[in-house]
């Protein structure tokens, strides 16, 4: 059953990773989340979440370029796997379906 459900932060991280399209790593994801939602995510927590997503097979990663401001250390760049894309789609559809069944909300969202 593992990997079937997404936690709230997991979902946020997965979507942001998808937005950043292969350029996402710890800091850039935190930054993007802050820009998009105004939410300050704990960097340590995000690392853990990303690793969990990777374990679930929803994202993949590779070690990318080292820069001077990182003290010569490489960053771990995350991309969304096809399972991840499928997950995003499923989540979206589930949400859609659920939203539309809310009697008063239907008009607003559609």
């Amino acid at each position: 059953m593992k990997g079937t459900f997404l936690g709230e932060l997991e979902e946020l991280a997965l979507l942001t990773t998808a937005i950043l399209d292969g350029e996402g790593y710890g800091i850039s994801i935190v930054e993007e989340i802050r820009l998009q939602t105004g939410r300050k995510v704990n960097i340590g927590a995000l690392h853990t979440v990303l690793r969990r997503l990777e374990k679930k097979g929803l994202v993949g990663s590779s070690l990318g370029g080292a820069t001077k401001e990182r003290g010569g250390r490489r960053k771990r760049l995350f991309y969304v796997t096809s399972a991840g894309k499928e997950m995003i789609r499923q989540t979206y559809e589930t949400r859609q379906r659920l939203y539309q069944q809310i009697p008063n909300m239907a008009m607003v969202i559609a």
Partner: protein
């Protein structure tokens, strides 16, 4: 600008290695961004915070987690089973825990007490080479073994015996100290010492310097207590203090202040003055007779103390004055570290410890611990029999032996650790709350904090875990699972004999302890209630402080007699409980050749017998009208026996009194006094002669018989009267009753301590018996049901349980009697006046024990035997 290194180090230490690169990269990138907008310090601070965010379990190094090595679920499972069992048998488990904790607490306290007693004078750097030279000699006509010796002894020995590396004398000279007239007070613990003192003993310095601090005349070293008393503000070193005694007055320079003496030393001084001052104040002091001095020597390494005794005697024979050697004094070397427990000489610095008593208490503590351990083992093994089913079931479900063993170890470790924790809590509670009341001061618990003790404690813990876990483990290996589950046969039933014999030991020990306590208590009570022959209540004595007092006491006596609450006043040379019953030579006309007769003496005036309430057995008392001032004596019974007279009254006697010169008093024995115990009941009454004394040498105390009334007002009035009589000296009042009961403090304390711990032993044994019986009642509940159905009466059922327990109790008790009888008689030999061990005590104790047993288990047995058999048989 680099990020803080320590933060990186911590992170690297904490996190898995494969995460280092990305995490550190992110952290440093953040750091560099922060550097742009913030100050460097703030950026560094932020780096620390960010770093902390990565210290989460998911990043933790795998190898550094202890929990993952131990199988957590196994552990939890075992704990759960243990806990369930605990809950199921709540009362039994509680009994078990409390029993062990109580026993442990009792043991720990006694152990601390005994270790403290043993620690006396062990801490000097040269302890092994320090000795005191004490004398056995004839003093005032009486042979005594005293702690003191004489002043010229050490200089002579040091000169002639090269094995002595250093030596030091202590001469006691009480006097008044003051820095201004307002703080003048009598100090008894003033000692004049040689400058070599600190080469022998290391007393801790508080202020000033120990170097040359006692080299010159009129230098003085104070303890902190005295320094604070006379110099409440600021330092004492470098200041002067006045010393005054009945003959002279001198100014001393304070050269150093030392820390107050620790409690575990046999020394008891507060002020040390240089020997040089003694030379100036009492130029004649360096003689073989008076004053006495405590003499300590430091032997060179490797010197045997045995050879020294001979050596000393040889030197003395050759060099000491002949008149001194005529009395055949002997000198013995005593190890300083053994003085407290092993030396009971006259004039010791302070009351000695009692080696036998310490050993007795150590033994009691050990016994209590044994009882508690027996309890614990008994109950645990009894319970584990009940658990054979559980064990069998678990094993048939696939639990391997190691799992079972682990469980037993875990359970026993946890319960014993709990008992230990509870025990320590009890120790502090008992020590601070109860012993404070009993002993007046709590026991020093320092020893519980030493590495050695903790080491033994851990060993003990391991051993007891092994024992208590061992038995159920034995069951695991012994019992076949199928056998264990089967309804018909339960292994371990036969170990009842093992448990019974352990209970037997418990009963034996407890009964012994109860009996011993009673004997100590009864003896103490006997001593305190024993009539001393005079009325101690409402009898006080004022000490005459100086020449003025002793010469003019009659003025004060008159003043006091005019006070409304004073029923009588009498002067005496000394009072019961104090030394000073000097041995004076007497000559009997029957036997004019004998010149070695001496008797203890008491100089009084005509009112003395009336004030003390002493009665005359034969003859008459002193009478002013008959000219008894010089020519009349009273004797006590022992004195008459000593002289071997049949009809003492009216006989002639000559008494030699020393009043600076020898003064022969020829007179007649006018009467024999009834019992008059002027010393402790440890000894028989010594021969005593009472004479009328008018010489100021022997008018040291004014005894006052008070009417019943407000004692505080009376004391105030007495003090006022004395201050008017002699405004220069402080007022010292002695209560005779207190003085007499102080003889038996030790017996009182020992009795109370023993009573306390015997009480604990009884409690523990009671708990143990309660636990075992409740266990067997639980197991035999069905048997009782069947018996009832077959027609057994309730009484028969109750008898079933009581009979067995009572039998063990009675047998255990009776077997402890002979041992107790022998040991108690041995102890009572210490006293000249002692109680008799009557069979009543034994029978009463046995009855009490039986009663206690019935009270403990009776209700439970009664309930079991009245249970409805239908119910008890239906239960699974």
């Amino acid at each position: 600008m680099k990020p803080p290194k320590n933060a990186i180090r911590i992170l690297k230490w904490f996190c898995r290695e494969d995460l280092h690169e990305e995490i550190l990269g992110d952290l440093e990138e953040l750091f560099n961004r922060n550097l742009e907008g913030e100050k460097a310090n703030r950026a560094r601070l932020l780096f620390w915070f960010d770093m902390l965010k990565f210290l989460r379990l998911s990043n933790l190094r795998k190898t550094s987690i202890p929990f993952q090595i131990i199988n957590i679920s196994l552990f939890r499972h075992s704990l759960m089973l243990g806990w369930r069992y605990w809950k199921k048998e709540r009362s039994l488990s509680l009994v078990n825990l409390v029993g062990l904790a109580t026993g442990l607490a009792a043991f720990l306290i006694l152990y601390s007490y005994v270790e403290f007693e043993k620690s006396f004078d062990k801490a000097y750097s040269k302890t092994e080479r320090l000795y005191r030279i004490s004398a056995n000699w004839v003093d005032d006509g009486v042979y005594v073994e005293t702690a003191e010796s004489c002043v010229p002894l050490l200089p002579l020995l040091s000169e002639k015996i090269p094995e002595i590396e250093a030596s030091c004398r202590f001469i006691n000279l009480p006097g008044f100290l003051f820095t201004n007239p307002g703080n003048k007070a009598r100090e008894n613990k003033v000692f004049f010492v040689d400058s070599s003192l600190f080469r022998l003993f290391d007393f801790e310095l508080a202020e000033g310097s120990l170097k040359n601090c006692l080299d010159d005349p009129f230098q003085i070293v104070l303890t902190e207590k005295i320094a604070n008393k006379y110099f409440p503000s600021g330092s004492a070193v470098g200041k002067t203090i006045e010393y005054e005694d009945d003959r002279s007055k001198h100014t001393f320079l304070v050269t150093a202040v030392i820390k107050d003496l620790p409690a575990n030393t046999h020394f008891d001084f507060e002020v040390l003055a240089s020997m040089g001052s003694m030379r100036k104040m009492r130029p004649w002091f360096n003689n073989w007779w008076y004053p006495p001095a405590f003499s300590y020597v430091l032997l060179r390494p490797g010197v045997s103390e045995f050879a020294m005794d001979q050596n000393i005697m040889k030197v003395l024979k050759d060099h000491a004055p002949e008149e001194f050697m005529d009395n055949k004094p002997e000198f013995v070397l005593q190890r300083v570290s053994r003085i407290h427990l092993h030396s009971k000489r006259k004039a010791e610095w302070k009351a000695s410890g009692n080696f036998a008593q310490t050993q007795m208490l150590e033994f009691v503590g050990f016994l209590v611990l044994v009882i508690a351990l027996i309890n614990f083992v008994n109950l645990v093994t009894a319970q584990s029999i009940k658990r054979t089913r559980e064990i069998g079931l678990r094993r048939s479900m696939g639990a391997v032996r190691s799992v079972m063993i682990f469980q037993f170890f875990a359970e026993s470790l946890i319960s014993i650790s709990l008992a230990i924790i509870l025990g320590f809590i009890l120790v502090f509670f008992i020590n601070n709350a109860l012993l404070l009341d009993i002993l007046g001061n709590p026991v020093d618990l320092q020893v519980l904090n030493t590495a050695e003790f903790i080491f033994y404690m851990i060993i003990g813990l391991i051993l007891s875990v092994l024992i208590t876990a061992g038995y159920p483990m034995f069951l695991v290996f012994q019992t076949h699972p199928a056998e264990a589950i089967s309804t018909f046969k339960v292994r371990g039933m036969k170990t009842g004999f093992f448990r019974t014999s352990l209970v037997f030991v418990q009963v034996f020990v407890s009964s012994f302890l109860i009996l011993s306590t009673l004997v100590v208590l009864f003896q103490g009570q006997f001593l305190r209630n024993y009539s001393m022959g005079f009325e101690q209540e409402n009898l006080v004595a004022i000490r005459m402080m100086d020449n003025h007092d002793t010469k003019n006491f009659k003025t004060l006596k008159n003043d006091l007699e005019n006070l409304s609450f004073v029923e009588g006043v009498a002067v005496s040379s000394t009072i019961p409980g104090k030394s000073g019953f000097y041995g004076f030579p007497v000559k009997s006309p029957d036997d004019p050749e004998r010149d070695d007769l001496t008797m203890k003496s008491l100089g009084v005036d005509e009112d003395f017998l009336k004030v003390y309430g002493l009665s005359i057995k034969e003859g008459r008392s002193f009478d002013e009208r008959k000219g008894d001032e010089t020519g009349a004596f009273l004797l006590n019974r022992s004195a008459v026996d000593y002289l071997g007279w049949d009809e003492p009254v009216g006989k002639d006697l000559t008494l030699t009194v020393h009043t600076g010169k020898e003064e022969n008093r020829e007179g007649k024995v006018i009467g024999i006094i009834d019992r008059f115990h002027f010393a402790s009941l440890y000894n028989q009454i010594d021969p005593l002669i009472i004479y009328i004394n008018e010489h100021h040498y022997y008018t040291d105390f004014l005894n006052i018989r008070l009417a019943k009334g407000n004692i505080y007002e009376q004391i105030n009035a007495l003090e006022k009267a004395y201050q008017k009589f002699n405004p220069n000296k402080p007022f010292e009042l002695i209560f005779l009753e207190q003085e007499m009961s102080s003889f038996y403090e030790k017996e009182k304390n020992a009795g109370k301590l023993m009573g306390f711990f015997a009480g604990m032993a009884i409690l523990i044994s009671g708990l143990g018996i309660f636990g075992l019986v409740s266990f067997s009642v639980g197991r035999r509940i069905k048997e009782i049901g069947i018996r009832k159905i077959l027609g057994a009466s309730r009484i028969q059922n109750i008898g079933l349980f009581l009979r067995a327990s009572l039998l063990i109790l009675i047998m255990g008790s009776i077997l402890s009697w002979p041992l107790h009888f022998i040991l108690a008689n041995d102890w009572l030999q210490n006293f000249a006046y002692a109680i008799n061990l009557s069979p009543h005590i034994y029978l009463l104790v046995l009855l009490g024990e039986c009663f206690l047993l019935i009270a403990t288990i009776g209700p439970m047995v009664f309930r079991a035997s009245s249970a409805n058999p239908v119910k008890s048989l239906r239960e699974p």
